[in-house]
């Protein structure tokens, strides 16, 4: 019975898709300090939740970002990097800044999606304070509206170096 289970786990484990090749982009210097394990705090700064669905997918069983050493955590106090989505709204400007301050050094910021990079279709809207880069320093950007999970996984692999 137990052996049977082991056999099944072994079979399924070997039948998984092989990981795509390593990304070629340079790792930021601070990401090298983290040693291959990056804990991420996700901040929704004013997203339409399209990016959230793709992030969820990136951490799901198909793309499984966790096997490369990236992990979502529940507090910036536990995090090495922020995963920010959406154009930064006026209400979220100060909370985003405080969340960034709450992350211990060394810390990184990943702007996920076109809105986070340059406000996307919401640029100039009355409630938008600016892109993520206008509020906190951004280390890595993931383009796309929404970005594909492969792109998100690739960005995270750039951080972890795996």
């Amino acid at each position: 019975m137990v052996l049977d289970l082991w056999r099944r786990i072994r079979r399924v484990g070997t039948s998984a898709e092989p990981p795509p090749p390593r990304p070629v982009a340079d790792r930021p210097d601070r990401a090298v300090e983290l040693g291959g394990s990056v804990q991420l705090r996700h901040v929704d700064a004013g997203s339409c939740n399209g990016c959230e669905i793709e992030i969820g997918s990136a951490f799901g069983p198909v793309y499984d970002a966790e096997r490369y050493g990236a992990r979502l955590v529940a507090s910036p106090r536990h995090a090495d990097a922020l995963l920010v989505t959406g154009a930064v709204t006026r209400n979220m400007r100060e909370p985003l800044r405080r969340t960034y301050q709450a992350v211990p050094e060394p810390k990184l910021v990943v702007a996920v999606g076109d809105c986070a990079r340059n406000c996307g279709v919401f640029a100039g809207a009355y409630g938008v304070a600016g892109a993520v880069g206008d509020v906190v320093p951004v280390d890595l950007e993931v383009p796309g509206c929404p970005p594909r999970p492969e792109a998100i996984v690739e960005a995270l692999r750039t951080l972890t170096g795996r």
């Binding site: 106090r77 909370p95 985003l96 405080r98 301050q101 709450a102 050094e105």
Partner: protein, 671 residues
């Protein structure tokens, strides 16, 4: 006249003098006169009690005091112990009362020293008539004090009624029990009762014991006769609460020990199984109510039920061991129980006085409206912290020593053998352990929610420290707590002799200043070394953390993480209700909380919520089940009786006429 007589005489004279002088003094000086008199009276009583514990005896006959029976004063070691406990509580509360203020009516101020005097007389009364007189005097004076603030708050009157009825039901039970016993003796003195009690039939002796047990248990706040405690203690002025909870309630234990072991000579094992079970149920039920209480003084009152329950577990175990012939173990169990009486008096005095100080400063007892008192009231906070530590049976606290002794007695009791012991002792051990755990939760809640964090109301934010006399009263109780916790050897030999003397056995333990060692069993404890180890360990951890912090570079001060949303407010803190919620869920079947959620929808759309109202009430379930039917029956009986009283004077005269005629006929018929 020896030291006992001198001390007791001086104490009673001082109390009388204070009771006379306080009403005559000008209004502002009354609390000072009554308080100082009470404190001095207590100090004299402590001297008398210590002398009695050291072996001095006293017997005084005062035939003229009370018609028919007279009053006999007999001080022995057991009485001396309770004399000392009551006296010590009176010293702390008397000093405290000077600054407390509160109601300054003449009667109330005169009642305080009289209450203490009657409590001092109860454990030294040597005959049934005198004992009952003092017991009733104690009930009446305490009732006056409970009702002291009835003009300010309506709840006081209701609490006083509950207390009056419960205490008098208890008094009637004691009266019948002792009179039945005295009916078999030559006169009503305790030595005569002792020789009569030894020859009593088991059924009669059992009846006497159960009747007196009902009375004494109602005074000790034992479940299911505890209903008055969480009502009367919170409503009484705080120094009176301390006197009642720390001194008067323990006299219920005195009564059980005096009648059961001394006058009736130990009786049959089922008595003590009953006492032990009552104690166990009270301990768990009391601390459970305390753990979910949100009224600071009601929490302390429920904790009194718990502690008296633990004491009765010890008393019951002692009776069972004595019945099985193991006198050494019986002495140990009773010593643990009596030590716990002393410890409880010390920390409960301290806790009630500190709670009174909080009430004095903020005007509220509601834990959900307190918090943040540490900044404004550092001394009171420290006092309550010490009391809470002592009450939660952890090392460095006083109750730890007595509960350790009790657990030792219960665990070693398994060796006594017998079916009852084999069933009851493991249950008792589990009960004491569960109680200790719940007590920690209850007192962490009281201290953490009440005194730490941020103030939850404007009154708590404005809190200021109490006047120096109140702090001095707390200091006396605090020193007693610390002494009992660190050096129980100061009192243990004397308490052990009381326990041993009742059973005619040797001292159950050898208490050196450093180590307390059980005699005849393996087991020893060194409170001083444990305290030292805990303090050194804590200091080492604190120092290590500081050194590590000093070594790390690049430290930046950042704001507390508040989800980035803005400053944390007092409304986000844990309240007493939310702290107790998990416990309340675990014990859902026992406490049966009543809660309902009312959602009011917006007028325009039922998808929009206008207001949500959440109500939680934890009614006393035992009280609900037991008292409600009795009260309903009494009310129905009263309505039935009211039909006879129509208000017509002719009818009333007619009743009198018929009654007299009936009596005449009856006399003629039976003569």
């Amino acid at each position: 006249m020896n030291a006992v007589g001198a001390g007791l005489g001086v104490a009673l004279l001082l109390a009388l003098a204070a009771a006379v002088a306080a009403p005559l003094a000008p209004r502002t000086a009354r609390p000072a006169v009554a308080g100082a008199g009470t404190a001095l009276c207590g100090a004299a009583a402590v001297l008398a009690g210590v002398a009695a514990l050291a072996g001095q005896r006293l017997t005084v006959e005062l035939p003229g005091v009370l018609p028919l029976t007279g009053l006999t004063i007999t001080v022995d070691a057991l009485g001396g112990l309770f004399l000392a406990v009551v006296g010590a509580v009176a010293v702390a509360t008397g000093i405290y009362a000077i600054g407390y203020g509160g109601p300054d009516g003449r009667g109330v101020q005169a009642a305080l020293p009289l209450f203490v005097a009657s409590m001092l007389l109860v454990p030294v009364a040597g005959n049934v008539g005198g004992f009952l007189l003092c017991w009733e005097l104690m009930a009446l004076t305490s009732l006056l004090l409970v009702a002291a603030e009835h003009r300010r708050r309506d709840e006081v009157a209701s609490a006083a009624r509950w207390y009056a009825v419960m205490t008098h039901v208890g008094f009637v039970a004691i009266l019948i029990g002792l009179v039945v016993l005295a009916g078999h003796a030559v006169d009503d003195s305790f030595p005569a009762l002792r020789s009569a009690g030894a020859q009593l039939e088991p059924a009669t002796a059992g009846l006497v014991f159960v009747l007196t047990l009902v009375g004494f248990a109602s005074k000790a706040g034992i479940v299911p006769l505890h209903a008055w405690l969480p009502r009367a203690h919170p409503e009484a002025p705080s120094h009176v609460s301390a006197l009642m909870s720390a001194a008067m309630v323990t006299l219920g234990v005195y009564g059980i020990v005096r009648v059961g072991f001394d006058l009736l000579g130990g009786g049959t094992p089922w008595w003590w199984v009953l006492v032990l079970l009552l104690g166990a149920v009270s301990a768990v039920y009391g601390i459970l109510q305390a753990a979910i209480a949100t009224d600071l003084k009601a929490l302390l009152a429920c904790s009194t039920t718990e502690n008296m329950g633990i004491v009765l577990v010890g008393v019951g175990a002692a009776g069972m061991f004595a019945g099985a012939g193991n006198l050494l173990l019986a002495g140990l169990a009773l010593t643990a129980a009596l030590l716990h009486v002393g410890n409880h008096s010390a920390f409960k005095t301290l806790l009630f006085l500190a709670a009174g100080s909080v009430l004095h400063a903020t005007g509220t007892r509601d834990l959900d409206a307190l918090g943040g008192l540490r900044a404004g009231m550092p001394v009171t906070t420290a006092a309550f912290g010490l009391g809470a530590l002592s009450a939660s049976a952890l090392p460095l606290g006083a109750a730890f020593v007595s509960e350790w002794l009790l657990l030792q007695a219960l665990v070693h009791g398994l060796a006594v053998g017998g079916v009852a012991t084999a069933i009851v002792m493991p249950l008792a051990v589990a009960t004491v352990a569960l109680t200790a755990g719940l007590a920690v939760a209850a007192f962490v809640k009281a201290f953490g929610v009440g005194f730490l964090a941020r103030p939850r109301s404007a009154a708590a934010a404005r809190a200021h420290e109490s006047p120096p006399t109140m702090l001095a009263g707390m200091a006396v109780a605090g020193v007693a707590c610390a002494a009992l916790a660190l050096a129980p050897a100061l009192v243990l030999p004397a308490v052990g002799r009381v326990g041993g003397a009742l059973f005619g056995a040797a001292d159950p333990l050898a208490a050196g200043l450093l180590v307390v060692r059980l005699q005849g069993f393996t087991g020893s404890l060194s409170p001083l070394l444990v305290a030292g180890a805990v303090l050194v360990g804590t200091a080492a951890v604190a120092l290590g953390a500081r050194l590590l912090a000093a070594r790390s570079r690049d430290r930046t001060a950042v704001r507390l993480w508040d989800c980035g949303a803005g400053p944390l407010s007092a409304r986000m803190e844990y309240t007493a209700t939310s702290f107790a919620q998990p416990l309340q869920r675990v014990f859902d079947d026992v406490v049966r909380p009543e809660q309902d959620v009312d959602v009011t929808h917006h007028r325009e759309s039922q998808y929009l919520v206008d207001a949500v109202r959440y109500r939680l009430r934890v009614p006393d379930r035992l009280e609900h089940g037991l008292y409600r039917p009795v009260l309903t029956a009494v009310a129905a009986w009263g309505r039935l009786g009211a039909r006879l009283a129509t208000g017509s004077i002719h009818l009333y005269l007619g009743y009198g006429f018929v009654a007299v005629c009936g009596l005449m006929v009856l006399l003629v018929a039976i003569r």
